[in-house]
Symmetry: C2
Subunit: 193 residues, 2 copies
């Protein structure tokens, strides 16, 4: 990376007086929720922080971040545990299979959150999984309750529950103003997956 | 990364019949615009695509993505050309200095966009730079007009111009529902910078 030439600009480095784990929720119907979570992983790596990503609904469709995070090396663990979007047309798995999968994933999430091995834990599409009752809201609220204070927890997916939003520190809603697929433009690698 | 066990799930790989560069705008006042752009960089890397990031307003304050992208290797170029947010309290540079900087950055953006060397070009905080007239709207519209069809162009920052939104394929607005800083929680590395 090219930084400003020495002497032309002073680069400040923030350092919080009180390091504190945050609960971040990224919800809404627009493009950029998982993507934003992946950006946090990249940024965390720059600070030498360790991230664990658990993808709840994804796993049946290749996405670039699977290989992208490999380039980040030992600082990131990614588990694509899902069987695709439950209820979406063409998805061949039963509700019971989706639920069993999501239940294993929430167990894994709890284990990783409490392991002491990560600074940042991302539960990708967890809001969707709760909405479709693949995970019980109580299970997610339990994770929020037991989260070690120093660990950041990022929860993505549309339709975040009110109870989750209440307990979060930072909540963004990503709204769709326009999306290429509405003009029959196919999903493009690097941008859409 | 841990993928589903062989045989339990079939992993599909999308492949667009017509690869097409998209113009993506990420605007709004919420957390997750630059972050989302960084996620696209990570994802693009997974597909073996080359990205160039030019940061317009940033450069005076260390951000984790600067070192994060180094881990991605030769697939990413990042230029933090800014002198911080123009007009923000405490920023020591004059409007003229900010404008000269942004003008150099837009020249660089044009060069990189037309170079043939990148699949994805990200102009981080360009919308803000246009809003503050550090870059003329016409200069940005010119980039949109000359963009090679196969190159993705991602434009971030609040207050995206209507003319830019009109010309984009995908536009997301990230709205703040809550932000930790409003409760006097300091910015945290990995999440906020």
């Amino acid at each position: 990376m090219e930084q400003p030439a020495e002497g032309t600009i002073k680069i400040d480095r923030l350092q919080p007086g009180k390091p504190q784990g945050l609960v971040v929720v990224i919800t809404g119907n627009g493009k950029g929720k998982t993507t934003s979570a992946m950006g946090m992983v990249l940024r965390a790596c720059g600070h030498g922080l360790k991230s664990c990503v658990i993808q709840f609904m994804k796993g049946d469709l290749y996405s670039g971040e699977w290989d992208g995070v490999k380039r980040l090396g030992e600082l990131v663990e990614l588990h694509a545990t899902g069987k695709g979007f439950c209820g979406i047309r063409g998805n061949p798995y039963s509700r019971e299979e989706h639920r069993a999968n999501a239940q294993a994933a929430i167990g894994l999430a709890r284990e990783k959150l409490l392991s002491g091995g990560f600074d940042l834990v991302i539960l990708d599409e967890i809001n969707n999984a709760v909405r479709h009752r693949l995970v019980d809201l109580e299970q997610l609220l339990d994770l929020l309750a037991v989260r070690p204070e120093r660990v950041h927890l990022v929860l993505t997916g549309r339709n975040a529950a009110e109870e989750v939003i209440e307990r979060a520190d930072t909540v963004s809603e990503v709204n769709e103003i326009k999306h290429a697929y509405r003009r029959q433009i196919e999903p493009q690698p690097g941008i859409d997956y």
